[in-house]
């Protein structure tokens, strides 16, 4: 069947089998391997992408269900070579170690800050509940999101350290 959706602002159209999961569509059809694939049972949250602005677990969404919708992946966070404050925050506050959970964590953080620009630590923890990190113990993730909340897009402190090679490291 043929499906079309907007992925990071680009319209894509592909012929797929109905059983293709959104996570595989993104990684294999579109080659955007920043979205990770872990438990495959909606438990770990590493596959989180934004669908119409809301975090969802792309391993339990069929690509066909996303037909006509807007998807944003970790590759869509940086714009014009400047890191999103969330990405910058994860660097500043050591929000990642192995990086496996990181793409999903950053997208959920972005969606949270879009809705609630100044969350308290509890609200951040609540938002990332359902996404498992085996490395950081979550404390640095919470600090990273707070860093981003304190450095919103357009503020002087973001962007100036945005070296594109670092962007590669964070999002790959």
């Amino acid at each position: 069947m043929q499906i079309s959706m907007s992925v990071n602002g680009n319209e894509v159209t592909r012929d797929i089998e109905p059983r293709v999961l959104l996570v595989h569509f993104i990684r294999e059809e579109l080659g955007l391997t920043g979205t990770h694939w872990g438990c495959d049972t909606s438990n770990c949250g590493t596959c989180v992408v934004l669908m119409d602005g809301q975090p969802v677990k792309s391993c339990t969404v069929l690509a066909a269900m996303a037909d006509g919708h807007e998807i944003r992946t970790v590759e869509g966070l940086a714009s014009n070579g400047a890191l999103d404050p969330v990405q910058q925050g994860f660097m500043e506050e050591h929000g990642l170690q192995c990086g496996f959970c990181t793409p999903g964590m950053m997208l959920t953080a972005r969606a949270l800050l879009d809705k609630n620009p100044h969350p308290d630590d509890g609200e951040i923890r609540q938002a990332i509940s359902g996404q498992i990190c085996r490395c950081t113990g979550y404390a640095t993730i919470v600090r990273s999101v707070q860093w981003a909340a304190n450095h919103p897009v357009g503020s002087a402190a973001t962007g100036d350290a945005a070296d594109p090679s670092e962007a590669e490291e964070v999002t790959a």
Binding site: M1, P18, R19, T41, S42, G45, L62, R125, Q126, I132
Partner: protein, 358 residues
């Protein structure tokens, strides 16, 4: 996953016709349960009829002052809706205690009601299970039963229903609106889910091809309070070991008190209690409700009332603790709703709050 056809229904009747006309077809809403089951081999529909784009996504007031919740409203939106939070806090709390944000964004009202048991043997296709494969036997009876039923089970199945939302809806006397091939009908939530008896493969009274279109909440009289409490192995992101939904109204205090001495406790005018994690369906504790109506709101009455319910409990080898847990949780919730002094009771409060945090 086995190959299947996928189509979006253009209208509710079209969706019903498509599924009713094909025994191997299924409705697809948020997919958070069905897609999982297709991957695990528990379900293998040949045709999916996606209903998530149908105009069943509204939350509207009813003429009598209740609320109609569309079948495809995401759980997140339902929990956050101002009228739900204001009038039916028990429902909002129950939803927020379930799953996690990313799942609630996808999960829907109808899908949540129809989610299937988390019994580990049901989910493991290599083990016998009467629910998944009727007549094959129940692995839980010889297995690990910590998460299984203490009320209303049968020798064919001891699984519990996993939904938090449905427990709150049971206490709210909700009704399920259904569209079928031969018209619509409405079923009380309490009669919607079944006990396993000798047909554990049937979770509910819904027939193949019948579509849930909405859940209707009746209005609550002025002064009604409600709360949901969920007890689980960790404070967030886990299914209930035991949960309690309580909806309660106290009588207006009378003027007959002489002013001296301690004021007599208010009486319970109306109460509805539903339990989660204990049975194959949200369990209305009707014996306890009966024992509480018209009685003074004291801890001793609460204990006696829930004991009247729990004398019917039949715990399994690994879950006798659930009996105590239900008793203490019910007492704690009632005490909180009635404003009964915590210090006078001394009962443990094993429950965790409604929020989910890692």
């Amino acid at each position: 996953m086995k190959p299947f056809d996928y189509a979006r229904a253009a209208s509710p009747p079209e969706a019903v016709a498509a599924v009713a006309g094909n025994p191997a077809a299924a409705f697809l809403a948020g997919g958070t349960n069905l897609v999982d089951h297709m991957k695990l081999g528990i379900a293998a529909p040949e045709q999916l009829v996606d209903i998530s784009h149908l105009p069943l996504d509204k939350i509207e007031g009813t003429d009598d002052g209740g609320l109609r919740l569309g079948a495809t409203v995401p759980n997140s939106d339902l929990a956050a809706h101002p009228l739900v939070r204001q009038r039916y806090p028990v429902l909002s709390q129950a939803l927020l205690s379930g799953a996690s944000g990313q799942l609630r964004n996808a999960a829907t009202t109808g899908g949540n009601l129809l989610q299937r048991t988390r019994c580990i043997y049901f989910q493991d296709v290599t083990t016998p299970c009467n629910k998944r494969n009727p007549g094959s036997g129940c692995s839980a009876l010889e297995g690990y039963t910590r998460y299984h039923a203490i009320l209303g089970a049968s020798m064919d199945c001891v699984a519990v229903h996993p939904s938090d939302m449905a427990v709150a809806m049971a206490a709210l006397n909700a009704r399920v609106e259904i569209l079928g091939p031969s018209g619509d009908r409405s079923v009380g939530l309490h009669s919607f889910h079944r006990l396993p008896q000798d047909q554990p493969q049937r979770d509910t009274v819904l027939e193949h091809g019948e579509l849930i279109t909405a859940v209707v909440l009746p209005p609550l009289p002025e002064g009604t309070r409600s709360a949901y409490r969920k007890v689980r192995d960790r404070a967030s992101y886990a299914f209930a070991l035991v949960s309690v939904a309580a909806v309660l109204r106290l009588e207006e205090p009378t003027e007959t008190d002489d002013g001296d001495g301690p004021a007599s406790p208010p009486k319970i005018a109306e109460v509805r209690l539903a339990l989660g994690g204990v049975a194959h369906k949200p369990w209305r504790a009707t014996f306890a409700e009966e024992a509480l109506r018209g009685q003074p709101a004291t801890e001793e009455k609460f204990r006696r009332a829930i004991d009247a319910e729990l004398q019917h409990a039949v715990p399994l080898p690994d879950n006798a603790f659930k009996v105590t847990m239900v008793r203490n949780t019910v007492v704690s919730v009632l005490r909180e709703l009635c404003g009964v002094d915590q210090s006078s009771g001394g009962a443990g409060t094993p429950a965790s709050g409604g929020e989910d945090r890692p």
